[in-house]
């Protein structure tokens, strides 16, 4: 009786406090603060304080919630919650090399793949439930973009799963812990030139998934007035901010775990992991979004169907051919 109970508590702790929920949220907010600060420095501005995203959240929690008359109220209010919960769960699924190993009970790479789709779906539901025409435009753009970037993501995950599986004598491994363990013993995939197409495809994937320029097309505030988020105010809008902070941590740590998980054990490992996330986010997100403007939706979809898709297929083919 006591053993399953303690298991349940450790699972809940993993989802709500570390490394999911609270921990991922705090780090996600710091990442956003760093991002805004560096973007300001790149434009030679002073920029907001580092904790600005936290101030924004606290402020939003104290504002009034408005629900439009024509909105579908239950869906409108449930969408941000579903997004937050899915991302807290996904954060608990991803190992931190040398520090945290997720319980196999929670799930593996396939579950992460499904959970990663939930925030985009939550945004689509939010856009369509709000009853606003800008929300509907955001909905259709989000869906087009998602269809374009899910292909490369799927292929990249398959590449890593097949490579690890083949190396271990099977065919595929969907366990993220196994993927981390294999790389810690045999060197990171980042060092293997045959994996570089997959790495590049993943680097191209995450700006679209995180909704960052040049792929922030569904939430473009100067065109569709923040699309799905247009009708949200107060706490539900804050929940969407929480969701995107969690998502940044989930997607970035997924990248680190898939390609570069080598780290020492214990507290140093945690520090190294967070450092990698910060570098990846500043180099891959902030510099990119400061340097280039927003793409049109047709350009973005074509881009994803051409380059990351081709790279991802090439990566998978290389892994299969070399086996």
């Amino acid at each position: 009786m006591s053993a399953p109970m303690s298991d349940l508590f450790s699972l809940l702790f993993a989802i709500l406090v570390f490394p999911g929920g609270l921990f991922a949220l705090c780090f996600g907010l710091v990442l956003k603060g760093l991002d805004r600060r560096l973007a300001a420095r790149l434009q030679r501005r002073v920029g907001p304080p580092l904790l600005q995203p936290l101030f924004d959240l606290v402020k939003l929690a104290r504002k009034r919630t408005l629900v439009p008359d024509i909105a579908c109220k239950p869906l409108f209010l449930a969408a941000p919650m579903a997004g937050c919960v899915s991302m807290a769960l996904a954060a608990a699924l991803i190992p931190i090399p040398g520090v945290y190993d997720p319980d196999p009970l929670l799930g593996d790479l396939l579950v992460v793949l499904y959970l990663l789709a939930v925030p985009a779906v939550a945004l689509m539901i939010a856009g369509s439930a709000s009853g606003s025409s800008y929300g509907a435009i955001g909905f259709s753009r989000e869906m087009a973009l998602m269809l374009a970037y899910e292909g490369p993501l799927l292929m990249v995950l398959a590449t890593v799963a097949v490579k690890t599986g083949l190396a271990q004598g099977g065919f595929v491994t969907f366990s993220l812990s196994e993927i981390v363990r294999y790389q810690q013993e045999h060197g990171a995939y980042l060092a293997d030139p045959w994996m570089w197409p997959a790495v590049l495809a993943f680097l191209a994937f995450f700006p679209a998934n995180l909704g960052i320029a040049p792929f922030d097309i569904p939430e473009a505030e100067s065109e569709v007035l923040e699309g799905p988020l247009l009708e949200y105010s107060g706490p539900p809008l804050g929940l969407f901010k929480v969701m995107s902070a969690l998502k940044a941590v989930v997607v970035l740590s997924l990248g680190v775990v898939l390609f570069f998980p080598t780290a020492p054990d214990g507290a140093a490992g945690l520090l190294v992991h967070l450092l990698k996330l910060a570098v990846l986010s500043l180099a891959g997100v902030t510099v990119l979004r400061t340097a280039i403007g927003r793409m049109r939706i047709d350009q973005a979809v074509l881009f994803y169907l051409k380059w990351p898709e081709a790279l991802a297929i090439a990566g998978l083919a290389a892994v299969l051919a070399l086996a």
Partner: protein
């Protein structure tokens, strides 16, 4: 003042309403107040696209008859607590357009204005000072 109140006042989001302005003040708002030299983001400000995200409303232009109802409706859509700043001389008195048949009149006849920033157009420093004063007003209402 509680800790929560202290940190939530550091995130005033700005929303611009153009009530028939000649665009002079809008250019001052959109470019001058945002360019590196006069960065308002260091006060925690952020321009937002939706009125429902806004805390501080910046209104420019004389209220023309054509946009009057729309401006009033937009104002209603901003969730409380909110602060209104009239930017430029036009929303304050009508400015050079004050005797026009197409102008509904000074904006404070229709909605409460908290801070006036006169000028044609006002200097960026004046706009930033107006925003800083609006933050003080907003603090009382939070």
């Amino acid at each position: 003042m509680s800790f929560i109140a202290r940190i939530s006042q550091r995130s005033p989001w700005l929303y611009r309403i153009n009530a028939g302005s000649c665009n002079g003040c809008d250019v001052e708002l959109a470019t001058t107040a945002c360019i590196p030299r006069y960065d308002v983001e260091r006060l925690g400000c952020q321009y937002c696209g939706s009125p429902k995200h806004a805390d501080i409303v910046l209104i420019t232009g004389p209220l023309t008859l054509r946009v009057k109802d729309k401006v009033l409706r937009l104002y209603e859509e901003i969730p409380d607590p909110k602060v209104t700043v009239a930017v430029g001389i036009c929303p304050i008195s009508g400015g050079v357009f004050r005797n026009s048949y197409a102008v509904a009149g000074a904006i404070d006849r229709y909605l409460p204005v908290d801070v006036n920033v006169p000028g044609c157009p006002p200097r960026p420093q004046a706009i930033i000072e107006g925003i800083a004063k609006a933050i003080d007003v907003w603090r009382e209402r939070l």
